[in-house]
């Protein structure tokens, strides 16, 4: 088991290194001129770190949500947090807001995500706690509402705003800067720390509230802590670079093939694998048709989905 974790760590590190040196211009780290150094430190390093953080947040939130909602189809976007974030960000972009300078879009997105998370939490709350089915349905309902409002705004907006908003919605890492790293790092690490700390409770919750209670956990308190950790990570991820599909839904399933369902291993493994996958997808998306870029979210789905389907046919590990 330790070896498997080590392999995942090494793969993630290798992908990070590749994403630093490869691209439209290959950089030899042992013989860098001024331009190469500039590209490496000012463009690729922050971009790779942002991609890594987003992937880490999505992979970990997916693993937590699927367990806590007892639903293999749950992902960080099902709770509507990302739709709220997108709506809020699109309002910021199209409305031409610039109150927070270059941070305007991330701040709008983060605010939208947190507000939506709170709203889903309020609607999922009954009899002193959060109930999985209520959370899911509230999330899906809000998701539809916000998506519709987003489409409405996009359909009546001007060309330039529309293009930028659309890019952002599909996951745009080209705006990554060092300035976004500290807050992203803070919220993602806080979320990971919370969820790994409560990983045993997550395992018990997967087998039902009464079972969790019998093992000494207060199910509703644990679910609230886990919900907050997922909310923080999803909000951070969406505000860093928009919506990236696939990772939150399928990376945790792929990791279950390799290391099982124990949250203490599954959360860190899904986090790392999510980070590695998004880094690699970003590398491909900015390299294949350079200088034009593909949205990274499209690439993650195109690499990841067939691999997932292959695993699904080869091993019956999903328990379904």
């Amino acid at each position: 088991m330790k070896i498997k974790i080590l392999v995942i760590v090494l793969i993630t590190a290798a992908v990070m290194c590749l994403s630093l040196v490869l691209g439209p211009r290959t950089i030899n780290p042992f013989a860098m001129d001024k331009t190469s150094r500039e590209i490496l430190f000012s463009i690729r390093a922050p971009r790779s770190i942002v991609a890594l953080l987003m992937g880490v947040a999505l992979g970990a939130s997916g693993a937590v949500l699927q367990g806590m909602l007892r639903n293999p189809l749950a992902d960080p976007y099902i709770l509507g947090i990302s739709s709220g974030a997108s709506l809020s960000a699109a309002l910021g972009i199209i409305g031409g807001a610039s109150v927070f300078g270059s941070f305007t879009v991330p701040v709008f997105a983060f605010g939208g995500a947190v507000a939506t998370g709170g709203l889903v939490g309020v609607m999922g709350w009954e009899r002193g706690g959060l109930w999985p089915e209520r959370l899911l349905l509230a999330g899906v309902g809000l998701s539809f509402l916000f998506s519709a409002l987003l489409m409405l705004i996009l359909s009546i907006s001007t060309d330039e705003g529309l293009r930028r908003a659309t890019l952002w919605i599909f996951g745009d890492l080209s705006m990554s800067e060092w300035s976004r790293v500290p807050y992203g790092l803070f919220f993602v690490m806080a979320g990971i720390a919370l969820s790994v700390w409560r990983a045993t409770a997550l395992n018990a919750l997967m087998l039902g509230d009464e079972f969790a209670h019998s093992l000494g956990f207060a199910p509703q308190r644990e679910r609230l802590i886990l919900f907050i950790s997922v909310g923080l990570m999803t909000a951070a991820s969406v505000s860093l670079g928009g919506m990236i599909g696939f990772i939150g839904l399928l990376v945790p399933h792929i990791m279950r093939f390799f290391i099982g369902s124990d949250g203490r291993l599954l959360i860190p493994a899904s986090a790392l694998a999510g980070g590695a996958l998004l880094c690699m997808a970003d590398l491909i998306s900015r390299s294949v048709i350079a200088p034009t870029e593909l949205p990274a979210g499209i690439v993650t789905a195109i690499i990841g989905a067939p691999y997932f389907l292959y695993l699904l046919r080869r091993k019956n590990v999903l328990g379904i």
């Binding site: 087998l207 039902g208 369902s261 124990d262 590990v317």
Partner: protein, 258 residues
């Protein structure tokens, strides 16, 4: 090893409970469970068997009355401390999660920070599942699953098991196997067990049973005293004939109702 102790492990005193505002679902219930007792809990569907077990496990709070665990009010225990004393297994266990047998058994250690007194392998030996340790839960038979959860409670170290219909969906062989296993645990480890069940013939093999109707206790004691034709008619509204076979075993039959 003494099988009787003065201090009850679990005590319910004049407990009332209701799910809604109209009427008590559990109506003035008092009983206690002593050390090493193995009690069968019987009653019609909806009579409150599961509710009683959940009250005893601290999952539900009584609207009045008190519930004590080793002489202390159950509310005074921290969740983790209570989990070291009681293990409750619900009737329906969601096993769609791909945990392995070993992973599940090790969950019994969650309330502890210290090294276990027993290893998962030893617990699996006791329930006869050592060779299945790396199987997934969903690949096991119904009986093996139940035994896996029992092995987990062994690691949990609980002195009181509250089991909600553990025999449901098991065929006769696995029912007997599970009851033998529980009897062995009670003998070797002085574990007290309260178990909801439906099969009156199995209940007749117990040393102590409780009969419940509409949230009230009809009787508690030896099955020969409690599971009589009159009491069973009152509880279930059917004519049940309690007979003695040539070999001296008591059994019930109810074919006259058809």
């Amino acid at each position: 090893m003494s099988s009787e102790s003065d201090l009850p492990i679990l005590g319910l005193g004049r407990v009332f409970f209701s799910y809604s505002k109209d009427g008590a679902f559990i109506d003035d219930l008092s009983f206690s469970v002593g050390g090493g007792e193995f009690i069968g809990l019987l009653g019609p569907n909806g009579s409150g068997k599961s509710t009683i077990l959940k009250l005893g496990a601290g999952i539900l709070r009584p609207s009045s009355g008190n519930i004590t665990l080793w002489g202390k009010n159950i509310r005074e225990y921290r969740n983790r401390d209570r989990a070291k004393l009681i293990s409750y297994l619900p009737q329906l266990l969601d096993i769609s999660v791909p945990f392995s047998v070993r992973e599940l058994v090790n969950m019994g250690l969650y309330p502890y920070d210290i090294l276990p007194a027993m290893s998962a392998d030893e617990a699996l030996d006791m329930v006869g599942l050592r060779d299945r340790a790396y199987c997934r839960l969903s690949d096991l038979s119904g009986g093996e699953r139940r035994r896996t959860f029992i092995a987990m409670t062994l690691l949990q170290g609980a002195g009181l098991l509250l089991l909600d219909e553990p025999l449901a969906n098991l065929d006769i062989k696995y029912q007997i196997e599970l009851i033998r296993l529980l009897g062995k645990l009670r003998e070797e480890r002085n574990i007290s067990i309260v178990m909801a069940l439906h099969d009156i013939n199995i209940a007749l093999q117990f040393e102590k049973v409780m009969l419940i109707k509409e949230g009230r206790l009809l009787g508690i004691g030896h099955p020969k005293k409690i599971l009589t034709s009159d009491m069973l008619r009152e509880a279930f509204d059917v004519e049940v004939e309690v007979s003695r076979s040539d070999s001296g075993n008591t059994y019930v039959s109810y074919e006259n109702n058809f």
